[in-house]
Symmetry: C2
Subunit: 418 residues, 2 copies
């Protein structure tokens, strides 16, 4: 089938299903999530067999071990998907909530009603569990979903798609409520991101390259997560024990995550005291340190940072270290180099803390806490579809509410405009 025609038919079916989902009760959506979990459990062997095909093809095509590990499914990973479906079923349903109720001078009663966005397109890379994660969050928030996974995972994703379809039908929802694109043709992505009539928002999940490509060509609005170049700034008035614990945790708790600290800024007045203590911690954990000239004076054994280090998301045991004159330079440095993900100030001075959170232009700003807290679970959103580094619509961790919008509802009794 012609790819344009195919994608248009997918879009039309999704739009139609979105009408059913918009009026679906919470119970109906939760039943569908549980029915999908049941189907996935029953179809476990078929999913594992399909995944074996993908793994074999991946090995033959020379995928590296890290990619193969992301692609691999086993019983434990399927159990985690099933558990995820049950967890999303337990989350509160944001749809239908009325807020800002009031009566206007004209006599009309006005409120905002939370509603699904409509149709959400998800473009992702090789991890097949995203198929279930993304579908479950979109379904719970009342949206129809079009999923386009990586070509390496096509067999796994199709097998998971069968369970989803069957679960939707079991619960009495149209199976086009969640559609998984059944072709590896890359033109499908180009079509999906320009289906302005049928798709309300695109969420790309994957590496920076994927997200930049999607953002550059999309005509549909994109909720995107670019990189996480997060900073910790140790202020003149920092409590040193907190500074050490947080600089350690933010860098070394997990290296490959977007909310890990990549650059450490230290106020000049405390640098000579703090940096040797931190360097000891990092050395013991084999974290490579790259410092500015002043840092290298204090820590002669570390290597020198170059300009590109300040912009880097290492996702690795490497940290860039810079001595700054004080809070002004720290804020300026962060607003210049940060990817606007998450930044933290360590200070006991309340005014400086408030200045930092007001003036640093990032999606999460913290006082005396590890940047590692910036995620949907720690923030109590229950689950997240991603962490947005955009400023409009959804900023920071995006949970169910980020997949909804608000419309205005007016209750009148015959009012006309004078």
């Amino acid at each position: 089938m012609d790819i344009k025609v195919y994608m248009q038919s997918v879009g039309i079916a999704a739009r139609a299903a979105s009408r059913d989902l918009a009026r679906a009760s919470s119970d109906l959506k939760n039943n569908a999530l549980i029915a999908i979990a049941k189907q996935l459990n029953s179809n476990r062997n078929a999913v594992l067999a399909a995944n074996k095909v993908d793994m074999d093809n991946g090995r033959n095509n020379g995928l590296n071990d890290a990619l193969l590990d992301r692609l691999k499914l086993n019983n434990a990973r399927i159990d985690a998907m099933i558990e995820g479906l049950h967890q999303v079923a337990k989350l509160p349903d944001p749809v239908g909530e009325l807020t800002d109720l009031g009566v206007r001078p004209s006599g009309i009663k006005l409120a905002k009603m939370r509603v699904p966005l409509g149709v959400i397109g998800i473009i992702y890379e090789s991890r097949p569990n995203v198929t279930i994660d993304a579908a479950s969050l979109c379904l719970k928030s009342g949206n129809a979903t079009i999923l386009r996974g990586g070509s390496e995972a096509i067999e796994s994703n199709q097998a998971i798609a069968s369970s989803i379809s069957q679960g939707l039908i079991d619960a009495g929802l149209p199976d086009s409520a969640v559609q998984v694109i059944n072709t590896t043709d890359r033109a499908a992505v180009g079509e999906l991101i320009t289906l302005t009539e049928s798709v309300d928002v695109i969420v790309p999940r994957g590496g920076k390259g994927l997200i930049e490509r999607v953002s550059a060509d999309a005509r549909v609005p994109v909720i995107k997560h670019l990189d996480g170049n997060c900073h910790v700034y140790i202020d003149d008035y920092a409590a040193i024990d907190k500074a050490l614990a947080i600089a350690d945790n933010a860098k070394t708790h997990r290296y490959g995550v977007c909310n890990a600290m990549e650059s450490l800024l230290v106020a000049e007045s405390v640098a000579a005291q703090v940096l040797p203590l931190i360097a000891k911690i990092y050395s013991e954990k084999a974290v490579e340190m790259r410092g500015c000239a002043n840092s290298c004076n204090i820590l002669p054994s570390i290597s020198k940072a170059c300009e590109s280090d300040w912009s880097e998301e290492y996702l690795a045991p490497i940290v860039a270290i810079k001595v700054v004159a004080g809070i002004d330079e720290a804020i300026e440095h962060i607003n210049h180099y940060s990817s606007q993900h998450t930044e933290s100030i360590i200070t006991e001075d309340q005014d400086r803390g408030l200045r930092f959170i007001s003036e640093v232009d990032s999606s999460s700003v913290m006082i005396n806490a590890s940047t590692r807290f910036a995620d949907g679970f720690e923030y109590g959103l229950g689950a997240e579809i991603g962490i947005s580094t955009d400023k409009i619509h959804a900023r920071g961790p995006v949970g169910l509410e980020g997949l909804t919008s608000q419309k205005w509802v007016v209750f009148g009794d015959g009012q006309i405009r004078q």
Copy 2:
């Protein structure tokens, strides 16, 4: 100067100014608004003289009377701009508001803080008062603004820009907080909408052609208002007096506005009773009626609607009329043809009213009220930069809050992630 270099320098200056604006107090922003009003009052003669140049050029270039009227400034229109500045100064400042405060199990205190978007680009057509309207709303919400008006109004806009600059300086804010593009080169628009590093959002204000062009080429997110093809549906259970009053008001109160009704839907069971009464009202006001086959059977004197009438935003004394089987067909028709601006159901049946507001996918949905209420003033937003027909970020009338975002703020006491 090379247009690319010029626009980049404008963007860099705006980003720098946005940092000052983000930390400006409400008093400082309000003082700036009032200082701009004073300057505009003092510079009245210069603004009128500049506008005369635009008007003369417009006449020589063959602008039609409607466009010339939009372009024209006089003392009354300058007074209105000054009054607008004072009104915006009186609006509550949304910036800094903390919501959703809570303590998480980890012990961190979490909240959302309302913050400016940063830099807003406004692209608009010939009405020079938009220069003041848009600048004042962006300034009050703490954003730096780059304004690009129509080439017909270049002299007027530059004269107004001088007053804005002087007012900003008088109040102690950088004059790059509001910049008016000083060239009519159309390439400036192309540069502005792709300045992803310096501009956070674009708001196009003008006709559908302008908005479609901007949306098609923008790389920066766009908050847009496309057309207003609004519907009133008279249900089987409508109170006839309310139905007549609202159908009259929604169509005839003002013709050239986006929240005017363009299509009237009537349930079959009441059509024979209601349509002749409505036709009488419309006939007396010389509103042209274009009906479906069933409407034409009831009203033999009206003309027949063709398919394109259902999608049309007439902005004129014309109405399309369709008899529908009932609420299901009404919702389906609206979701298919509407521009998702504003729709109203006339019914005394509460369940039907609630179904309509839940299932109709438009930015404003109403029960027993005129579509003419859909605007920022009637909704109590104080002022509006436009009415968004988008679903993400801001939907419906966009006031100061729509020009802001929320970031997450975390107050810790040394917490690290376990």
